[in-house]
Structure formats: structure tokens, C-alpha cells
């Protein structure tokens, strides 16, 4: 696993892609993290960004949760599960794998459908992987 070096350019490119595809579709927050639990990019609606989300803890738990999910997959003979979704009362969270080492965390309300999130994350996947993993 190589170290990640983020430049202002890659940060801006990824941020623009995420805003156009997910934030403009009504998603509250999007975090792009690596599988070691580091936050690469954190985007969100202005109101959502004012709510204090502990991004460091969220990233560490998400990375661990997806890693544990991948172990569960292997126990039932699958290579991996590529996504994970939790439904809450007011908010939902979707975790999707991007390339080999990245995870996209999407936090959204009931006004956005899960289907749309899944489509948009799938569309974003290759472009984000290209930016950070080349």
C-alpha cells in the first residue's frame, strides 16, 4: 500500500466531480477516504457542513467497517462486497469502494433515493480512482 500524496489540483478536481454529481443532487456530505482511515476530501452543503461531523472518527470507523465487511464476504466465499448501506431515521449512509484503496462515504436524507446514489457513485468511481491512483 503506497502513501497518498494529495495536491491542490487533485483535491480541486475530485471536489468538483463530487459537488457536480452528488452534492448538487441533494446529498448532505461526501467524504473520500483511504482504506487506512485518512480523509482525502470532505465536501458538503453549507448547512450540512455547519453540523459538526467528526470526520476523523467517521473515516476510521468506515475503513474498519468496510474491512470487516470484506472479511465477512470471504467467509461466505465472495471476494468482497463493494458497497455498504445503513438506513437511519433522518439520515442514511452509503459506503462505496473506489478503485483498490479508496472509499466514498455519502450521507444523505430521505429526499434522495438510494438508487440515484448508487448510480452516481458508480459513475464517479473510475474518475476518482484515476485522479488519486492514476
Amino acid at each position: 500500500m503506497a502513501d497518498f500524496v494529495i495536491t491542490a489540483q487533485s483535491q480541486e478536481k475530485a471536489g468538483n466531480l463530487i459537488v457536480n454529481s452528488l452534492i448538487n443532487a441533494g446529498v448532505r456530505n461526501v467524504l473520500l477516504i483511504d482504506s487506512a482511515g485518512n480523509v482525502l476530501t470532505n465536501c458538503g452543503h453549507e448547512e450540512a457542513m455547519n453540523i459538526d461531523i467528526d470526520a476523523v472518527s467517521l473515516a476510521a470507523l468506515a475503513a474498519a467497517s468496510l474491512a470487516a465487511t470484506s472479511q465477512i464476504a470471504q467467509l461466505i466465499g465472495e471476494d468482497d462486497f463493494s458497497l455498504l448501506f445503513h438506513k437511519g431515521k433522518n439520515g442514511n449512509i452509503h459506503f462505496g469502494r473506489i478503485g483498490q484503496e479508496l472509499i466514498l462515504i455519502t450521507i444523505f436524507g430521505d429526499d434522495v433515493s438510494l438508487g440515484l446514489i448508487r448510480c452516481r457513485v458508480a459513475e464517479l468511481s473510475d474518475s476518482l480512482a484515476e485522479i488519486f491512483e492514476g
Partner: protein, 205 residues
């Protein structure tokens, strides 16, 4: 795996506290959390499982100030020590940049220390990491037990068991009262930041 953010001028490193069950890894983090100023540390994350054993991991983010204009942010993790949680230990080691091995001084735990260090070597190898080349510091914890009738290992015995080939820095500690905790943290932070910085030629240290 360090994360270097050139746009925000931040370096993020991951340091894992490893060691056999009940050697005091979480106690180290709790003491650091308690002793450090709130502005220099984040929230301590402990996954709440019943009982006092770590079943997944604990996390404590720290800010260590600036080096060459870069903000140094360190994330301290612990692993569950019990032998059966090997899969979890392997997950937490993903992307590690530095290691503290905490050893238990009880005579009855002598074998457990050696097994745990070997387990660390094996688990690192699964991530294609070589323990001999990584920043690693040893901590001989619970030295206060030496003043009690409980049979304990001497520092010489611990050095012989764990450090005869590694030949790295080792510190005596009493994590409950903080003795040696910051010495260990200082040394491993220094080594880890140097390791990451030199790898990316951010600065020659």
C-alpha cells in the same frame, strides 16, 4: 500509509500500539488523552464493547505541531491483544507508519510477549511490510509491579526476549500513572515522521 496533503500542508501518519492482551495499550492512549491539551488532540474513539477489553480498536488523533511548514497529524490506534482476534489486528495494521510494542512484565506472560511480537512480524508481512525496516519502539509497561511480590521479568530479560535482534529504543513505563508514556510517544513520533518525511523527501532530517 501516510497521507501527505500538499494543498493543506498536512502530513497524516498512523501509529499502532501492539502487544499481548491486557498489557496496557488502551491505558497508554487514555493517559495521553487525559494529559494532552484539548487543542492538540481530537476525540478519543473507543468502540464500546462490554467489558474492559478492546475488541476492535481505539483511536486518538493528535496534532504535533509544524515541521518545515507542514502540520503533523498523528493517529494513534490500538489493536485487540487476545490471540483469537488476529483478523482484527491485521485490519488495524493496514497503512501503519509506526509501531509501539507494549510488553507485559509478568513472568507468566513471557511467552505471550514473544508470540505477540512474532504475530506482529507475520501480520506486517501480510501487508508487505518488513518489521525490521519500520519505525518501532518497545515499551516495558507495568514496572510498578516489580515492587510487589508478583513474579516479574527484569528489563534485561525483556531485552533478551524482545530486543536482541531488533536493537531498537525501549522505555520502562507505568501507563496508569503516565511514567514513560510520553517518552515512548515522543520517540515513536520522531521516528515515524522522519521515516515518512525522508521517504517523500519533504525534508532531510
Amino acid at each position: 500509509m501516510a497521507l501527505i496533503d500538499l494543498s493543506k500542508k498536512e502530513v497524516h501518519c498512523k501509529i499502532v500500539f501492539y502487544g499481548p492482551g491486557r498489557c496496557g495499550k488502551t491505558t497508554n492512549l487514555l493517559y495521553i488523552h487525559k494529559a494532552m491539551d484539548e487543542k492538540d488532540r481530537g476525540k478519543m474513539l473507543t468502540i464500546d464493547t462490554k467489558g474492559d477489553r478492546t475488541l476492535f480498536f481505539d483511536l486518538l488523533p493528535l496534532n504535533l505541531g509544524k515541521i518545515s511548514g507542514f502540520d503533523i497529524r498523528i493517529q494513534l490506534y490500538t489493536v485487540p491483544g487476545q490471540v483469537m482476534y488476529e483478523a482484527t489486528r491485521q485490519l488495524v495494521l493496514k497503512g501503519v507508519d509506526g509501531l509501539v510494542f507494549v510488553a507485559d512484565p509478568l513472568k507468566v506472560r513471557q511467552e505471550r510477549n514473544i508470540e505477540s511480537l512474532e504475530d506482529l512480524r507475520r501480520n506486517l508481512a501480510k501487508h508487505n511490510l518488513d518489521m525490521d525496516k519500520m519505525p518501532l519502539v518497545l515499551q516495558y509497561n507495568k514496572r510498578d509491579l516489580c515492587d510487589t511480590p508478583v513474579p516479574t521479568l527484569t528489563v534485561e530479560e525483556l531485552e533478551h526476549d524482545l530486543n536482541s535482534t531488533l536493537k531498537t529504543a525501549s522505555y520502562e513505563a507505568i501507563a496508569t500513572t503516565g511514567v514513560g508514556v510520553f517518552d515512548t510517544l515522543k520517540e515513536i513520533s520522531k521516528r515515524t515522521v522522519r521515516y515518512v518525511a525522508e521517504k517523500h523527501l519533504l525534508v532531510k532530517m
